[in-house]
């Protein structure tokens, strides 16, 4: 029994990341917590790109490039989200998303 991790182990890891992120998105009341969950989910997909690249298309780097895209998008998204949170905090003095129901109708 070798300790070298295989494809399935990496998959379990990325699935765990995704599930933890999803749990965070669905359960955190703080907007920042939700954002962290989203980041976790994004990163789990990024990880998937790397894994597939490594195991299924070794000579190429497409997956790694996609991962860099994802990181860039995630960074931009985090900046935008944080800016929105700051604006919300300024007007409401809270970023508890369970109170944010104004856009219901």
């Amino acid at each position: 029994m070798s300790l070298v991790p295989g494809l399935e182990h990496w998959f379990i890891l990325s699935t765990l990341f995704f599930a933890i992120g999803l749990y965070g998105v669905l359960s955190r009341r703080s907007a920042v917590g939700v954002l962290i969950g989203v980041e976790l989910m994004l990163n789990s997909t990024a990880l998937n790109f790397v894994i597939f690249n490594r195991y299924l298309a070794t000579p190429f780097l497409d997956g790694a490039v996609m991962m860099i895209f994802v990181i860039a998008v995630a960074a931009a998204e985090a900046v935008l989200a944080m800016a929105i949170f700051v604006q919300i905090f300024r007007s409401r003095h809270s970023v508890d998303i369970s109170t944010m129901t104004e856009m219901r109708y």
């Binding site: 669905l26 359960s27 939700v34 219901r104 109708y105």
Partner: protein, 639 residues
């Protein structure tokens, strides 16, 4: 097409032209001019009609061929199914042309005096022209569709003229009633036409149509091959009964008679023209037109005979109790129409005496009944009342009217040598010759009743002393009104000597007995005299009025409650139990379903919007759950 008569289209066209010109341009400006132009156009039409009659009579002295004098394709429904507009000249249409134009002309002239003070008389003459055109178009119709077209047009002119005093609720109601009742009958006529058109088309497809004829043409429909084919399809009786119902509506046969007495709400000259002399005989004319087809079905003719005889008796009995002079005359018209109808009903192709007799009576009746109405109009004009119990003693104050009215009374009572005697005698003979003793008995009884009720109104209105102030002050009508009375009086005296029966004889006539038994004229005259005598005995004393009707006389006076029955059916059954539920059903059930759909959509929207909490995480949870479910389904499906 016979070039010799091509100008015949002018007869209906002149009143039509005048209708358009007078209605659009003259009537709004000058009512006097309207009256004169309208009358002039009818005068021209009359002259042409008389020339046609003379020419036709010279060409065919003893009954003759049918000539399509002029026609053109008006409406092509499908190849081989064309409605033409044209002019058919045959003995009966020529006869009717003369009757209609002459009576119409006299009524136009009379109306110049009668309506002189009426501010709306421009409208009146417009409608009168429309009627004259429609009636002439009906008379010369070469096909059943033109007949129907003009049939409806005379109906609407009658409607317009009955409702001429349109601010009077009773006149409005009467005009509606007249139109709707006849319209109801017309539905059957229309169905009959559809049936004839359809079957005729089938016959035409197999046998072929003779040259220059159309499926709807009377000449085609009454041709032996068509009648035979209809009979083979066992549709002849039903088609003829349907057409007969239409005819019965226009000719006010029981039970469709209820509109005619009310139609007396119109101006009296209108009653004379439309509801006595011309329009109401259209039904008789239609049956006569289609007589060879009717003769193919003994049942259809029996229906005509029974309905005619019953109406004849029924109306005569009611006429004996009415107090309104025009209503008496209206019921008398009904009764006389019954005569004509049963005369047609007793005739057969082999022994068509009744056919000729019916048309003869139509001819004579037009004159003396128009005279009676115009005379009554002169009286009403003078007395300002319709009730005979407010007249009396008018013989001295209105001598000319009196004499002419008396002539007409004797004519309708059937006393020789006046016009009514000859035609009525012939009808009774026809009933005997064709072995219908019951019908003969009814005819004889009605002859006596006719003499009685006519004697009654004559005696009460003209003899004795005045029963009201206005009757006291009554004075003779103007010359323009008297001239038509005199002309009609002459015609009532002499029309019986015109050999109409020779003229309109059918070619199928096998030379049966044309005269009936020798005792018949004496019996018929005796019946008439007896009726007059009884009237004299009862009404000779100058009473103030008749005692209030009681018992069975109420029933008679209320015309056996036939109006009430109709009112009950329409007002109490059709409107509340058919029409109202449909209107309700539409608003609440059909439209309710529509609103229900709308409301369901709205409610489901309201219910579903509860799911929309605004909580981002709720949405996300639903979303994830949905993805998981879809993923599982997909997995299950792929597996």
């Amino acid at each position: 097409m016979d070039a010799g008569f091509a100008y015949a289209w002018l007869v209906p066209a002149l009143p039509l032209l005048s209708f358009a010109i007078v209605g659009l341009f003259i009537a709004p400006r000058s009512r006097q001019a309207a009256g004169l132009v309208a009358t002039a156009s009818v005068l021209a039409a009359t002259v042409i009609a008389v020339i046609i009659a003379a020419q036709y009579y010279v060409a065919f002295p003893s009954g003759g061929d049918a000539i399509i004098a002029w026609s053109f394709a008006w409406l092509e429904y499908a190849p081989g199914l064309t409605a033409t507009i044209g002019v058919l000249l045959d003995p009966i249409s020529v006869l009717l042309l003369v009757v209609v134009t002459v009576v119409s002309l006299l009524v136009h002239i009379y109306s110049l005096g009668y309506m002189a003070d009426d501010p709306g008389s421009g409208r009146y003459f417009t409608f009168l022209n429309l009627f004259t055109f429609s009636m002439l178009g009906l008379v010369v119709a070469p096909n059943i569709l033109q007949m129907f077209i003009c049939w409806e047009l005379v109906g609407v002119s009658s409607f317009l003229l009955i409702g001429y005093y349109y601010q009077k609720p009773s006149a409005v109601a009467a005009s509606k009633k007249a139109f709707i009742v006849t319209r109801f009958a017309d539905v059957f006529f229309l169905i009959g036409i559809l049936l004839l058109g359809y079957q005729g088309f089938q016959v035409a497809a197999t046998v072929g149509v003779p040259d220059g004829m159309q499926v709807f043409d009377f000449l085609f429909l009454t041709a032996p091959s068509t009648v035979g084919a209809l009979g083979d399809a066992s549709l002849l009786t039903i088609a003829m009964v349907l057409v007969f119902i239409g005819a019965a509506g226009k000719s006010a046969m029981f039970p469709l008679h209820i509109w005619l007495p009310d139609a007396m709400e119109g101006p009296t000259p209108v009653s004379a023209l439309i509801h006595a002399a011309t329009m109401v005989v259209a039904g008789i004319y239609l049956v006569a037109r289609l007589f060879p087809a009717f003769a193919g079905s003994a049942d259809a003719l029996s229906v005509a005979m029974i309905v005619g005889a019953f109406t004849c008796l029924f109306a005569a009995v009611i006429a004996c109790t009415q107090n309104d002079i025009k209503r008496v005359l209206a019921f008398s018209t009904l009764s006389q129409l019954g005569y004509m109808m049963f005369a047609l009903g007793v005739a057969t192709l082999a022994s068509p005496l009744g056919y000729a007799a019916s048309l003869f009576h139509l001819f004579t009746h037009a004159f003396f009944k128009a005279l009676l109405f115009l005379g009554a109009g002169a009286v009403i004009h003078a007395v300002h009342s319709n009730s005979i119990w407010e007249m009396g003693g008018l013989a001295r104050r209105m001598p000319v009217t009196h004499v002419t009215f008396l002539i007409a009374t004797l004519a309708i009572a059937g006393l020789p040598p006046l016009a009514g005697f000859f035609s009525k005698d012939l009808i009774l003979a026809a009933a005997l010759v064709n072995h219908h003793p019951v019908v003969f008995a009814v005819g004889l009884l009605v002859a006596a009743l006719t003499a009685f009720y006519m004697g009654r109104i004559y005696i009460v209105a003209f003899l004795g002393k005045a029963r009201s102030d206005s009757a006291e002050k009554a004075h003779e009508a103007s010359p323009v009104m008297l001239a038509p009375l005199l002309i009609l009086a002459v015609l009532s005296l002499g029309a019986g000597f015109i050999p109409v029966t020779e003229f309109v004889g059918l070619p199928s006539d096998s030379g049966h007995d044309h005269h009936g038994p020798a005792w018949l004229p004496y019996v018929a005259t005796a019946a008439g005299l007896a009726g007059l005598l009884i009237a004299w005995v009862i009404y000779r004393r100058p009473t103030e009025g008749e005692a209030e009707a009681t018992g069975w006389r109420v029933v008679l006076q209320r015309q056996f409650y036939s109006n009430e029955v109709y009112l009950f059916v329409t007002k109490r059954i059709i409107f509340p139990f058919v029409s109202a539920p449909i209107a309700w059903f539409d608003r609440h059930v059909v439209d309710g379903a529509v609103n229900l759909t709308g409301n369901l959509t709205r409610w489901s929207g309201i219910v579903l919007s509860r799911l929309q909490t605004g909580q981002l995480q709720t949405y996300a949870t639903w979303f994830v759950g949905g993805v998981v479910v879809i993923g599982l389904l997909f997995w299950w499906w792929v597996r």
